[in-house]
C-alpha cells in the first residue's frame, strides 16, 4: 500500500521523502536516545548532588546531633540549602533522629505532616530515594543516615525540587528539540534542493522528449547552449545535404559502399558532437541527449528534404504515376499528370479500381515483393493497352516498383504514354515495307506476267481456233480451260499476298502461326530468288504452337532477313569465278518454351567486329544508297515487342544464321 503510493510519486518527491524520512528516523532515534541519556543522567547527577549535600550534612552534623546542638545543625542545613544555586534545587532539608523525630528542618512554614515516614531508610541502607509529594508539589526525597561510629544516630533528608529538575529537563528538551527541528528544517531544504538538482535535468529531458515526440524540434531548446559556443550553421552536414554525415554513414555501414567512398568528405570528428570531459552523469546524459536530438533533427531535415524532392518528382513527373494497392488493386494516389493523360480527376482516381485503366497482374505485383523483377525490384512491361476516361485506348510502357505505402504492400506504377511512338513505329515499319514492296516490284511484275502470259496464250488459242473454224480437240479444250482458271487463281494469289504484305498492320496482337508467316513470305519471293540462283529450302515444324504477335509485322521481319540473306549470297558471288548456288534455309521449330524461326544462308557471313552492331539503327555494310540500315533495327524492335529475341551465329565466308525466339502464346 505504502509502496504503491510511493511508486506513484515522482522521482523528486521520492528523493525528498526518502531523505526526509531517513533524517527524521535518525533524528527521532537520536532524540530518544539523547533524552533518555540526558534526562536520566541529569536526574542521577542531581540525585548525586542531593546525596552529596545530604552526606556532607550527615558528616558535619553528626557531632551536632550527638551534642544535640540543634541550632548549629539548623544553621548547617540552612547554609547547605542556601549555598549558591542549590537553593533552587534543594527544596528542603530536614534531619531526623533515630526515633524519627524531626530535629530541625528548612521549611519556612510548619513542617508538613505527611512528609515523615514517606521515605524510610532501611537499617543497612546507605541511601534511599523516593518521590514524595508535599504541599501540592513533588520532590525527590533523599535519605542518608547520620552515623557515629557504627551506630546510626539520625537520618538526613534532602528534598530535591522535582519542579526544578523538571524545568531543567524541559529546558534541555526544548533545546534539544529545537536543535533537531533545525536539523530537520535544514535537511528538508537541502534534500529538497538535492532532489530538485538530481531530477530537474531529467524533467527537462522528459519535457524535451515530449516536445520531440510531438514534432516540435525548435521549442525544445536543448540545442541552445547557454554558452552560445555552438551554432546550427556550424554543422556542415545541416545545410549541405549532399554531405555525408558520419552518423548517417555509420548507419549505412551494412550497405554496399561506393568504391570511391573514401574520397568523400566525412566528418571524422563531428563538429557539433559534444561531450563533457568532466562533469557528472546527468551532464553527460544531457550531452548525449542533445547529440541525439541533433541527429534526429538532421535526419528529419534530410528526410523532409528527400520527401519533398520525391513529392515534387511525383507531382511534376512527365509521366502518369499511380500508387496501387497490391491486394485490392485500388489506386491510392496519382499525380497531376495522370489526371491529364487519363482524363479522370484526382478524386475520381483515388479509390478507383486500377483495372478500369488497364491490366494489373496481381501475381506479378506480389512477386515484386518476393524479390522478382530486376535489381531495383521493378518490373517493366512494354506496350500495355490502357484506357482513358473517354474510352480511347492508348499504349503505355509500364514500370512497376514495389513500395510500402502507409503500411500496405503497394506498387508504384509509372505509365509512359508511347502511343505516338508505337504509331510512328508502325509508320516506319509500313514505310520500310513499302520500300520492300518497291524493291520487289520488278520481281512481282515478272511473277504476275507468268500467269497472265499463260492466260493470254490460252485465250488467243481459243480465239484463233474460233476464227479459223477449227474444232478444238476436247482434251486440248479442257487443258486450256483448266490451265487458264488455274493461272487466274495463281495471279490472284500473288495479288493477295502482296496486299496482305502491304496492308498497314493494326496495333493489336493476334495469335500467329509462324509457319503461315513463312509460307506467305516464301510464296512471294521464292521464284524471284530462284532467278538470282538462290534456292529457298523451307523446313516447317508440324503442329507449331502459336505466338502472340502480328503476322504482318513478322512478315516484314522475315522478309528483311531473307532479303539480307540474298544480298549476302550475291555479295559473296562477286569475287568468285564459278558462282555457287545460293541456299537460304528457313526453319521453324520449338525449343523448350520458345517457338523459333531460323534463317540460314551461305552468304558472306558477318565479321565478328560488326556482329554486335548489326542491330544498331542506320548501321549498314552496304554501299551508300543501297540500304538505309534500318531493316535489322526495325526487325529487332518488332521481335522485342513480342518479348522475343534474335540470335546471330555467323562465320565469315560461310554464312549466317539468324534465330528468332518467341515465347509460346
Amino acid at each position: 500500500m505504502i509502496l504503491k503510493a510511493l511508486a506513484r510519486l515522482n522521482l523528486k518527491n521520492k528523493f525528498f521523502i526518502s531523505i526526509l524520512a531517513v533524517i527524521l528516523i535518525i533524528s527521532c532515534v537520536i532524540a530518544l536516545l539523547a533524552r533518555w541519556i540526558l534526562v536520566s543522567g541529569l536526574t542521577q547527577e542531581l540525585e548525586l548532588r542531593g546525596t552529596a549535600v545530604a552526606q556532607s550534612i550527615a558528616a558535619r552534623g553528626g557531632t551536632y546531633l550527638l551534642e544535640d546542638n540543634i541550632p548549629e545543625l539548623l544553621s548547617l542545613i540552612f547554609d547547605e540549602k542556601q549555598l549558591r544555586e542549590r537553593k533552587h534545587l534543594v527544596d528542603y532539608i530536614y534531619v531526623e533522629n533515630v526515633d524519627k523525630r524531626v530535629l530541625c528542618h528548612t521549611f519556612t512554614r510548619p513542617f508538613p505532616d505527611e512528609l515523615p515516614g514517606t521515605n524510610p531508610l532501611g537499617e543497612s541502607e546507605q541511601k534511599s530515594v523516593r518521590l514524595v509529594s508535599l504541599l501540592g508539589h513533588e520532590a525527590y526525597d533523599i535519605a542518608v543516615p547520620v552515623k557515629e561510629g557504627l551506630y546510626r544516630i539520625g537520618t538526613v533528608h534532602v528534598g530535591l525540587s522535582k519542579e526544578h529538575i523538571d524545568s531543567l529537563v524541559a529546558k534541555l528538551r526544548v533545546m534539544f528539540l529545537g536543535f533537531i527541528s533545525a536539523v530537520i528544517i535544514i535537511t528538508f531544504y537541502i534534500s529538497h534542493r538535492l532532489a530538485g538538482y538530481i531530477t530537474d535535468p531529467v524533467v527537462r529531458l522528459t519535457r524535451i522528449s515530449d516536445d520531440l515526440s510531438r514534432g516540435s524540434f525548435d521549442s525544445s531548446g536543448i540545442l541552445d547552449l547557454p554558452d552560445g559556443r555552438w551554432n546550427i550553421t556550424d554543422c556542415p552536414a545541416f545545410s549541405d545535404t549532399d554531405m555525408p554525415c558520419w552518423h548517417f554513414d555509420d548507419q549505412r555501414k551494412g550497405e554496399q559502399k561506393r568504391p570511391d567512398d573514401k574520397t568523400l568528405r566525412r566528418c571524422k570528428e563531428c563538429v557539433f558532437y559534444r561531450k563533457h570531459e568532466d562533469g557528472d552523469e546527468v551532464a553527460t546524459l544531457t550531452d548525449s541527449f542533445r547529440n541525439m536530438v541533433w541527429s534526429i533533427r538532421l535526419y528529419r531535415r534530410r528526410l523532409s528534404e528527400s520527401e519533398n524532392t520525391y513529392r515534387s518528382l511525383f507531382n511534376s513527373g512527365p509521366d502518369p504515376i499511380f500508387v496501387v494497392d497490391c491486394t485490392t488493386q485500388k489506386v491510392l494516389d496519382a499525380n497531376p499528370r495522370a489526371e491529364e493523360v487519363y482524363g479522370f480527376s484526382r478524386n475520381e482516381l483515388v479509390g478507383m479500381d486500377f483495372t478500369t485503366l488497364g491490366p494489373v497482374q496481381t501475381r506479378e505485383c506480389m512477386m515484386l515483393f518476393e524479390g522478382g523483377g530486376d535489381e531495383a525490384g521493378c518490373v517493366r512491361t512494354p506496350r500495355v493497352v490502357h484506357h482513358r476516361k473517354n474510352g480511347v485506348p492508348m499504349f503505355v510502357n509500364v514500370n512497376a516498383c514495389p513500395i510500402s505505402y502507409r503500411g500496405r504492400p503497394a506498387i508504384i506504377v509509372a505509365a509512359t504514354d508511347v502511343t505516338e511512338v508505337v504509331e510512328k513505329d508502325a509508320q516506319l515499319i509500313q514505310a520500310s515495307k513499302m520500300k520492300s514492296l518497291g524493291e520487289m516490284s520488278a520481281g512481282v511484275a515478272h511473277e504476275l506476267n507468268q500467269p497472265l502470259n499463260a492466260i493470254r496464250m490460252g485465250s488467243d488459242f481459243l480465239a484463233m481456233s474460233l476464227e479459223q473454224g477449227v474444232t478444238i480437240h476436247p482434251e486440248h479444250f479442257r487443258q486450256v480451260v483448266t490451265e487458264m482458271s488455274a493461272q487466274v487463281d495463281r495471279a490472284s494469289g500473288i495479288i493477295n499476298t502482296l496486299r496482305s504484305f502491304g496492308r498497314k498492320a493494326d496495333l493489336f496482337d493476334e495469335d500467329v502461326n509462324l509457319n503461315a508467316t513463312v509460307q506467305a513470305v516464301t510464296s512471294l519471293i521464292s521464284r524471284q530468288f530462284l532467278l538470282h540462283q538462290v534456292d529457298i529450302k523451307v523446313d516447317l515444324a508440324t503442329e507449331l504452337p502459336v505466338i502472340t504477335a502480328q503476322d504482318n509485322r513478322l512478315q516484314q521481319v522475315l522478309f528483311n532477313l531473307v532479303t539480307n540473306a540474298r544480298d549476302a549470297i550475291i555479295e559473296r558471288r562477286k569475287g568468285m569465278e564459278k558462282a555457287a548456288r545460293g541456299l537460304i534455309e528457313i526453319r521453324t521449330f520449338v525449343d523448350r518454351e520458345h517457338v523459333c524461326l531460323s534463317v540460314s544462308d551461305n552468304g558472306t557471313g558477318i565479321p565478328q567486329h560488326v556482329l554486335e552492331k548489326v542491330f544498331e539503327p542506320f548501321f549498314t555494310t552496304k554501299v551508300t544508297g543501297e540500304g538505309m540500315g534500318l531493316g535489322l533495327a526495325i526487325s529487332y524492335g518488332i521481335v522485342r515487342d513480342y518479348k522475343g529475341d534474335i540470335g546471330i551465329r555467323s562465320r565469315e565466308g560461310e554464312g549466317t544464321t539468324f534465330t528468332l525466339r518467341f515465347p509460346k502464346a
Binding site: 511484275a445 515478272h446 506476267n449 507468268q450 500467269p451 497472265l452 502470259n453 499463260a454 492466260i455 493470254r456 496464250m457 490460252g458 488467243d460 488459242f461 480465239a463 484463233m464 481456233s465 479459223q468 477449227v470 486440248h476 487443258q479 486450256v480 490451265e483 488455274a486 493461272q487 521464284r527 530462284l530 532467278l531 540462283q533
Partner: protein, 233 residues
C-alpha cells in the same frame, strides 16, 4: 516449221504447244536453258523461242550459247512486258527478234512470220540496202537483217543521201530485223543527217523494233509512216 520453245513455266509451255500447233508449227519444248541446248543439238530446229528470266541458265546465256554453236539459228527472246533493256541486250547478242510477255497472238504470229521470211531469204545475214530517189526524196530501202556486217553499206547509203541534199526516207521491210550494234550505227547516221539539216522519215518496220527505236531515242528524230505514199515532211 520446227520451233524449240524454252521456258521454265510449264503452263506457258503447254500453251505454246497448243497455239503453235494450231498455227501449224511443229513444237519442241525445254524447261530450262540446259535442256534447251540439248534439244537444239539433237534436233537442230531453225528457230528458238526462249524466255529470258529463268532459274539456272537464263535466256541471255542460252542465246549466247546458241549463237556460238550456230550463228544461223534464229533466236526470238521472250521478255517481260516493257523490259526494253533486256530486249536490247538480247538484240546486241544477235537475237533476231523479241516478244513481250504476255505473248499476244499477233506479236507471236508477226515474229514467226518475219523469222520465217528471213529464213527463207537464203539465210543471208547481210542486209540488202538500196537507195533510190522518189519524188525528190532519197529512199533507203532496207531488206533482211541489219547487223554489224551491214554497217558500211548503211553509212554509204546515208552519205549518198546526204550528197543529194534530199529528205531521207528509211524504208524497212516488215520482216527486217536489226541487231543492237546496227541500231547504234543507224542512230549515229540519223543524228549526223539531222545535223546536216536533213529531215528523215521512216516507213515499215515491226512494232517491236519501233519500240526499240523509241527507247534509243531515234523516233524523236524521225517521223514514222505506214507506207511510202503517206510520207509527208
Amino acid at each position: 516449221m520446227r520451233i524449240l520453245v524454252i521456258d521454265d513455266e510449264m503452263p506457258t509451255l503447254k500453251m505454246f504447244v497448243l497455239i503453235l500447233n494450231a498455227m501449224g508449227h511443229e513444237v519442241l519444248t525445254a524447261e530450262s536453258g540446259e535442256q534447251g541446248l540439248e534439244v537444239l543439238r539433237a534436233e537442230h530446229p531453225p528457230l528458238v523461242l526462249t524466255d529470258i528470266k529463268m532459274p539456272g541458265m537464263d535466256g541471255i546465256e542460252v542465246l549466247q550459247k546458241i549463237k556460238e554453236e550456230n550463228q544461223a539459228t534464229e533466236v526470238i527472246v521472250i521478255t517481260g512486258h516493257g523490259d526494253m533493256d533486256l530486249a536490247i541486250k538480247a538484240l546486241n547478242l544477235d537475237a533476231t527478234d523479241f516478244i513481250n510477255k504476255p505473248v499476244r497472238r499477233e506479236a507471236l504470229q508477226g515474229a514467226l512470220a518475219r523469222a520465217e521470211e528471213r529464213i527463207q531469204l537464203a539465210r543471208s545475214k547481210a542486209a540488202a540496202i538500196s537507195i533510190y530517189l522518189r519524188e525528190g526524196d532519197a529512199v533507203i530501202a532496207v531488206r533482211g537483217t541489219l547487223s554489224t556486217s551491214s554497217e558500211s553499206a548503211l553509212k554509204d547509203a546515208f552519205r549518198h543521201a546526204a550528197r543529194s541534199r534530199n529528205n531521207i526516207v528509211l524504208d524497212f521491210a516488215e520482216n527486217t530485223s536489226i541487231n543492237g550494234a546496227a541500231i547504234s550505227v543507224l542512230a549515229e547516221c540519223v543524228r549526223n543527217a539531222r545535223t546536216e539539216g536533213q529531215r528523215i522519215a521512216m516507213v515499215g518496220l515491226s512494232a517491236n523494233f519501233r519500240q526499240v527505236f523509241e527507247v534509243m531515242g531515234i523516233t524523236r528524230q524521225i517521223a514514222a509512216f505506214a507506207s511510202l505514199d503517206d510520207v509527208r515532211f
